[in-house]
Subunit: 152 residues, 4 copies
Amino acid sequence: MNKKEIYQQLANFWNNDMPFNQLVGFNITRFDNEHSEVRFQWQDKLIGNPMQKILHGGVTAAALDLVGGVVAAGNIIAHIEEPLTAETIQTSLRNLSTIDLRTDYLRPGRGEEFIATAKIIRSGSKVAVTRMELHNELGVHIAFGTGTYMVG
Amino acid sequence: MNKKEIYQQLANFWNNDMPFNQLVGFNITRFDNEHSEVRFQWQDKLIGNPMQKILHGGVTAAALDLVGGVVAAGNIIAHIEEPLTAETIQTSLRNLSTIDLRTDYLRPGRGEEFIATAKIIRSGSKVAVTRMELHNELGVHIAFGTGTYMVG
Amino acid sequence: MNKKEIYQQLANFWNNDMPFNQLVGFNITRFDNEHSEVRFQWQDKLIGNPMQKILHGGVTAAALDLVGGVVAAGNIIAHIEEPLTAETIQTSLRNLSTIDLRTDYLRPGRGEEFIATAKIIRSGSKVAVTRMELHNELGVHIAFGTGTYMVG
Amino acid sequence: MNKKEIYQQLANFWNNDMPFNQLVGFNITRFDNEHSEVRFQWQDKLIGNPMQKILHGGVTAAALDLVGGVVAAGNIIAHIEEPLTAETIQTSLRNLSTIDLRTDYLRPGRGEEFIATAKIIRSGSKVAVTRMELHNELGVHIAFGTGTYMVG
């Protein structure tokens, strides 16, 4: 199993077997050691402000937390020494967790589709830092964030 | 309508008519000008880590964002000059929105019930700052947060 | 007085008459409505870790706070309606203050010269949000930050 | 050497041999495994706003970063297994560094003396999280902060 296959397998697992991701409709669409992307569609159940039909701020934070965690996982996997087995991968990801997350809300969360992206800013054996952005399908910049993740 | 009735009415509205709050099961249980509380029950659909049965980090961030926004609203209402009508209240809350939110994850989100609390730290005519905490029903401290809200 | 002259005059004032900036050696070298830059030289008095000769984390935070505040000021000035007089400028800047600041430390603060840059991410009549970076003279990325400023 | 003596010795070292602390006048006045305190006197050179005689925001951030780092160090030392020698202490503190710092500015930094305090919120073998506050000598709450530190 090469790293590309692992990224794909993990994306499938997180897309299909993580209940909250399915509840909201988060779909990991890019995943490597430097970048990640999560997309989700507008749904009325994600409304946080009934008078204005905009996303709940918690959905935005959740999308940023997820997409940052995905690229942090990609970074962990990139540093696993061979052999890459289901076991070494699972062991490596065991400690992955969010330490802290800052979300900056720039504009109201309106759109048909939302695209969250992340990239690695600090890559280490214990802690990774990522920057994230949320745009809608028209390219409107809705939010950005910074996440610190435990990776080792 | 006195302020206590207004707080109750707004809590009812947010509990019953804000789709994402209902999706997750957020329930505002305290709401005044200085403090707020939101409770929600464990549900499998909130799982963020299927191997460990813990809350998705996004649920935690969403609960903190909501409970901070509620006390920020309480603070706005406390400063409305009479008369308190549906119109003056709606106008006063029109600009309420999260500017930024920091979430610190302290311990895995395990429990039967989760209690998010917030208090006002900075109260102003334009911006309010709140601190939030998330505990489970056993008093385990799961997360805390800091939120900056536009209030005017 | 046109806006470019105002930017220059304000930079001179902050460079020469703000005691802490002179203590540390902060020098505003770029200043307009979208971008700002602050430079400072290594000095032994800025050492935060005597065993390793690296910048005190507080110097980094101070540089990011300053450079973010400068571009926030640039943004305020850009929105002043004519006429631009010393009085209208002073009145407009009266409320400028930092609400919150997040600093992410990426690499040890080593170098001969340090360059802090900022750009506006959210521009509003009450609140502005800026992103900042600190590099050394070799282009090493030492820190980045996010600042929320009261502007109105 | 018992732990209390070590705390005292380290406080002396940081008070007397860390150039930036001396430049600003930071003085560690409490230091154990759970709490820390840093005090400093008003000096005109710390002015960040010449028209209003208030502290530069960078001084506030620096004080919070320092006092949080001190209690993080206290926490590291509390977990060293005997014997406590200069060598084991130095080795244990080698990796101590700030990962990220959030500063919330609540009120203008006015006063004769400033007191920064910190406590541990998350204590781990790799990462510690601390909360900090800054008050003046009259008890006015000027700022608070949250810091994430690498400790292992």
